[in-house]
Every structure is written in structure tokens, then in C-alpha cells.
């Protein structure tokens, strides 16, 4: 292993350990000493990579955004239509939030603070939802009297609510809960023809049940810095 590879590994271990500390204790109470210990390095090594706790938080947020972007691209390539892509993206994000502490801590820090961060994951998720609904309307799979703006607000509220509620009970981010949301919304949103083809529990679930995909969290497929707790 080269010196550069070792430095990258240490940096990744520190980001992971910081995410665990933020997830467990919150940003305010997380201690740098605990973070370096969790990564198996000295506080000197930590300070070589990160000047401050804020810099660590920014790195966790950036890494979370990178993973979610990769997940979103992967889902988009596979999905047969815009509405299914939206449903599948919500499931894939929920799974990632459950299994990947870096995504969970990074998304939470980023979406709950009004700091001038480079990435704004909440804004990106809102634009992703709106874009898919607008594309679905162009595809002719949206009911004439459904409002893209009303549905965007409802979907953002519900998914962000589930993310917050899952901090108390992980079940709120389960495939079953997300499927409940889509069973409640899709009949008001999709034309009967589109609705007949949609899978509220996600295509990945349908494919996986048919043996086309390996089981397990999405994180295992995206590469990079993944893993749960």
C-alpha cells in the first residue's frame, strides 16, 4: 500500500468514525478524541486531515451527497418510467439511510442546518421529486387534475418526516412504510394505465423477489464509503 493509499484509508476511517459520533451523540456533543479513537488513529493524525469539527462534518456531508448521487444515477438508469424512478429513488435513499451511517449522519446534519454548505441535499431531493413529476406529466402518466406542486410538498414532507421519525424507530424508513406512502399517493397521481404498471414497494423489490438481483442493502453495490451500524 502506498503512502497516499494509507492516507486515503485514514481519511475514510475518520469520516466513518465522525459520522458514527454525530449519529449517536449529535454534532454538539461529538468529541474529536472519540472520533480519532474510533478510527484507530491519534488526534495528531486527525488534525493532519481535518482542522476542526466543522470540517469533519462538511466531509461527512460531502461523502453522503456523493453516495446518494451515485444511488440516484443507478436507479435512474434502471427505471422504466419517471414515476417508478421516483418511487425507486425514495426506497433506495431510505435503505441507504438505514444501512449507511455516513449517509444518515451526513443527510441529517446537512438538511437540518441552514449553514452555507456547498451541498444542500434537501434542496436537491426537492428538485429531484419535482423533476420526476414534471417528466411523468410529459410522459402522460399523471392525472390531469393532479398538482405537481401539491404532490412535491407532500412527498418531501412525508419522506423527511420518515427520516426524522426513524431516529426513534427505524421501521419508519422500512420498505413497508415507504410502500404505504406510495399506495396512498399514486392512485391520486398516476393515470389508471400508468398505475397498473407501477410497483409501490419499488422495482428493486420486485426484481429481487424474482431472483434477478442479489439481496442486501443498496450500499453494497455503490462502492465507496458504505456500511451500517
Amino acid at each position: 500500500m502506498t503512502k497516499q493509499e494509507r492516507a486515503m484509508n485514514t481519511r475514510h476511517a475518520l469520516i466513518r468514525s465522525a459520522a458514527q459520533a454525530f449519529d449517536q451523540h449529535g454534532y454538539t456533543l461529538a468529541k474529536l478524541a472519540g472520533i480519532s479513537a474510533g478510527a484507530g488513529v491519534s488526534t495528531g493524525a486527525l488534525h493532519f486531515h481535518f482542522d476542526t469539527k466543522a470540517a469533519m462534518a462538511a466531509a461527512v456531508e460531502t461523502e453522503a451527497a456523493r453516495i446518494l448521487h451515485a444511488v440516484a444515477r443507478r436507479v435512474q438508469r434502471r427505471s422504466p418510467c419517471a414515476l417508478q424512478a421516483l418511487v425507486d429513488t425514495s426506497h433506495a435513499f431510505a435503505q441507504q439511510l438505514c444501512w449507511d451511517v455516513v449517509v444518515r449522519a451526513g443527510f441529517h446534519l446537512n438538511s437540518r442546518t441552514s449553514h452555507a454548505s456547498e451541498t444542500d441535499m434537501l434542496r436537491e431531493w426537492l428538485e429531484c421529486v419535482r423533476r420526476y413529476l414534471t417528466r411523468a406529466a410529459r410522459e402522460g402518466s399523471i392525472l390531469a387534475d393532479a398538482s405537481v406542486e401539491d404532490m412535491t410538498a407532500t412527498i418531501i414532507g412525508a419522506t423527511i418526516g420518515f427520516e426524522g421519525l426513524a431516529r426513534r424507530d427505524r421501521e419508519w424508513l422500512s420498505r413497508a412504510t415507504l410502500a404505504s406512502l406510495w399506495r396512498a399517493l399514486l392512485p391520486r397521481l398516476a393515470t389508471p394505465e400508468a398505475l397498473a404498471r407501477l410497483e409501490p414497494a419499488g422495482m428493486e423489490c420486485a426484481l429481487s423477489a424474482a431472483g434477478a438481483l442479489p439481496e442486501g442493502p443498496v450500499g453494497g453495490l455503490t462502492g465507496g464509503l458504505t456500511g451500517g451500524h
Copy 2:
């Protein structure tokens, strides 16, 4: 003013000041010295009423629950049917969360922690939603293929999401955003006959527009410990 009245006033001022500190800085960073100063009393007076910061948080939560119970009862007495009562309760709670720092801080503390608190406002809100939907089904105003459980999960997710999002932008708890949610959900939930009578923006809004009610936050009508920031 009797000695007992003065003590009650001090206690109320301390609860208010604690709520402001929790709302602004979070529970962890809120300082007892700042709370007593905010209430215009000595730290000795604070300790006469509350042993610990945890005891103050519990008092804020209890007071928030008391106010929300009063709001819920008031809405229930007025609403013509279960679905409108549910819509109106969500609007009244949202207004209260916007205007009343005690409700905002108390609900947030109580719903985001898994402590063994006496009150569990999240659980109560979930049961309130489920009860209204079940009552609406008995009243015959729910579509035969609508699922009470799917809708309960969706409504809880969305409303709790709005509450969290409003910490970044108060607009998420506005009457307009809540009305978006109900415009998106009610056509999937209510029979056409029921739907024609429902007001997604809330009956209070309709009555107020007709001049039947004074304008302003609900807080002003419930008595007790209210006020915004």
C-alpha cells in the same frame, strides 16, 4: 397579587424562557443561567422551581401537551365531520407550532427523544389521526379502497416532516403548505360527496374569511401560556 400567584407567574416565565433557549440553541447548549436571566429572575429562583435542566424540559413538554390538548378539543367541538376535524386539527397545530415557542420547543423535544416521558405527543398525534380516519370510515365519508393505515403513515410522515422542515423555513408550517397536503390526499381518501364539503385550507380559514372569527394565531384563544417569538 398573592405570594402563590407570584410563584406561578415566575414558574410560567421560566418555562417560557426555557422553551426559547431550547428552541434557539437546542437542549444540549441551553444554559440555566441564560434561562433564569431570560425570565428576569435569579438562578436561585430557578432552582426553587426546577432541580435540573431535564426537569425544565419536562415542564416545557407538559405545558406544550396541555396547550395542544386544548386546541384539539376546541377544533373537535366545532368541526362538522371527522375528516374536516382532522384537517382543522392539523392546521391548528401547525399555527400553534409557528406562533407558540413553548409548543414548538416542547413538541420537538418530546417527539425527537425516546426518553420515558409521561407524555408522548407523537404517539398521541398518531392515535388522533387514526381515530379521526376510523370515525370518518364509520361516517361513510371514506372511499372503500382507501387504507386507514397507509393514510395514517402518510399524514404522520408529512406533518412531522413539515414540523422539522419549518425549523429551516417557517413556510413549511403555513396554511398554504398544509392545504397542499390535504389537496393531494383528500381526493384519494374521501368519497366525492364528502370531498365536495371539505375545506383543505381548514374551516377556520373559511369562517375567518367570512368574518365569523377574529384573525390571528390560535394561541390567543386557548388561554394559558402562549406567545410567539
